[in-house]
Symmetry: C2
Subunit: 353 residues, 2 copies
DNA sequence: TTGTACGCGTTATCAC
DNA sequence: GTGATAACGCGTACAA
């Protein structure tokens, strides 16, 4: 080991020089964009190995190409909370599929960073996928549009010209509600997802709906209310079994006002409600019908099959990924409307009284 | 379609020209790295707004700076599976904390992509965090070292000079086992995590251990075996309640060979075992003691408190993030050894027979 | 098939 | 406080 002051990393130019070829030739050897004589190819590779050159610097390459190979995914709230939700993880899964043709990496970003740091404003990304639609999303959208990046919004409205991936939340929720009505239920209560960032576990009032920021919650509630206009609804603070349990207890505590059916806006919430019923010695579906939304596989649920509306979560992600891929290819992104499929399970039945 | 309908995006040079200042001045206006007279500042900002310039191009900036502000996190297997695991999500949470001082973005990468695409080999990242230690991790490691990127490995051995974040898996597992032995149990069975990518749900044999690729599984098993050398162990295919349920059924099916205690390598598996016991009408801990590992909060578990070893999952991520931050500051990364803490819960008791 | 030359858009440095 | 200039490392027309 000699003096070596500052061991500047070898560049492709160094490699070319060492191999006795032009830098362009060396470049081609690594990109494979053109034919190179096997002999020179070998020489270049040997020189590279010799200098410890590990291929083109991605930063320089992306400047030159105008592409970084990275797509940003903007989630609301804490990453942890986002990934706790099976629907989100399924969607991410689909997204990686849809993006496969680009073989792009996924840069996770939270929606609420305003600090200097690696925000949407200065991340080297080629496109952006926005998920959900809080007030903040609008801010993110502003930044992204300013940068002129392709955007796709999943379950949210981004305004004119921005391709979206939508779900028929209202219709699908109405389907589930109609199923309960058709079974003969008239005394139904709802457990909704969070309405706004405050995430309070309290009854839903018209005022709260007016100021709600989570479209999904509002849309599904609208569908439910279209069948049972006056049903009591309580908002949970998130999509968790434990939340469903808590709200379930609230709804079932008083035998006098106990509904014959509870409809939750997510499967996890529904499972929680079932647990609450079990605690109180109520049988599902004999004493209480419970329906959910999402159609996910709940780890540890076991026997019962939830009556629910199965949403194409993976498809949502895949569709978004495909649109991003299209836009990056220079084509125009298109809005895709996806639909849910109602599924009858073993957790709903006619009311006993 | 004419050639002029590609409106080249404005650059900082355009802005500077329009504002009548030098590009370096305009640059400083955006970076804030030096004082600028309010008047010129205004002029530059106005010109930028006028030209629709949304700030420096991140690609060019990162080439110039030699930093992209992105840290890669390499997970094994499907992203979905990774995020299904509460320990992983907790760790990611800690990682974002530890990385906070860098305000860097997190680029998710799978461990098993070998395609041309945006693999570790050509992603514009400043550092890498490798999680777990499969055979493939070694391959990832090769690439990363070749590029000379700072690396931190969480729960895996990366060889000389690579800082690691480790857990005292063997010792902690032995602690749990000793607790069971001290309660008087002699007839104990184990449920382990996956041993290798095949993820088979079958008994663990010496041969399988010899060819295992998942260090965590092997280490914890070693701890368990140090107390109960001859206990039957069955490997689950993943850390899921449903997996615990399946393996639990296998272990409890035959009353004649039924153990008095089952020790699982994860809390989710343990919960599954409890469910299996409940199915068979066995009471926990009266008829069967169950212990887990991880100390996570299981959504929907409810009443019982699991006897387990609480691992510092969030800390693991935070420590990794901090080491990355250090290395990026030019300091040397250091290996951190973290320890688990044994917790007695309500799911273990002396054997009844 | 190989080499030359230029530009991608920015920022650090140093004069002024 | 402001300006000129030189890299940063690469890809790719274009010429040979």
């Amino acid at each position: 080991m000699s003096t070596s002051d500052i061991p500047r990393r070898a560049t492709i130019a160094d490699v070319a020089r060492a191999a006795g070829v032009a830098t362009s030739t060396a470049s081609v050897v690594f990109s494979g964009k053109a034919k190179v004589a096997p002999a020179t190819r070998e020489r270049v590779l040997a020189a590279a190995a010799d200098l410890g050159y590990a291929g083109p610097d991605p930063r320089a390459a992306s400047l030159r190409r105008g592409r970084s190979g990275i797509v940003a995914v903007v989630l609301e709230g804490h990453l942890r909370a986002a990934f706790l939700d099976p629907v989100t993880t399924a969607m991410m899964d689909g997204l990686t599929d849809g993006l496969a043709s680009l073989s792009a990496g996924i840069l996770l970003m939270r929606d609420d960073e305003h600090g200097e740091g690696a925000s949407l404003a200065n991340a080297p990304v080629d496109a952006v996928v926005l998920i959900g639609c809080s007030v903040r999303t609008k801010a993110s959208l502003e930044i992204v549009r300013g940068r002129g990046l392709p955007v796709v919004v999943i379950e949210g409205d981004a305004g004119e010209g921005i391709p979206r991936i939508t779900l028929d939340n209202t219709e699908a929720a109405a389907d589930v509600a109609r199923h309960l009505r058709d079974l003969g239920h008239t005394d139904v209560a709802f457990v909704t997802l969070a309405l706004d960032p405050a995430r309070e576990r309290i009854p839903v009032t018209p005022e709260r709906i007016a100021t709600a920021t989570v479209d999904v919650t509002v849309d599904r509630l609208a569908g439910m209310r279209s069948v049972f206009p006056d049903a009591l609804a309580i908002s949970a603070s998130g999509s968790l079994i434990d939340e469903g349990l808590l709200v379930g207890r609230m709804l079932l505590a008083d035998p006098a006002t106990r509904p014959t059916a509870i409809m939750a806006q997510s499967d996890l919430l529904a499972v929680g409600v079932i647990r609450a019923a079990e605690e109180l010695g109520l049988r599902v579906p004999e004493d209480l019908s419970v329906a959910g939304f999402d159609g996910i596989a709940v780890d540890g649920l076991g026997g019962p099959v939830l009556t629910t509306s199965v949403q194409p979560a993976v498809e949502k992600g895949r569709a978004a990924g495909e649109q991003v891929a299209r836009m990056l290819r220079g084509e125009k992104g298109e809005t895709q409307h996806l639909t849910c499929r109602f599924r009858v399970g073993t957790t709903t039945a006619p009311p006993s009284r």
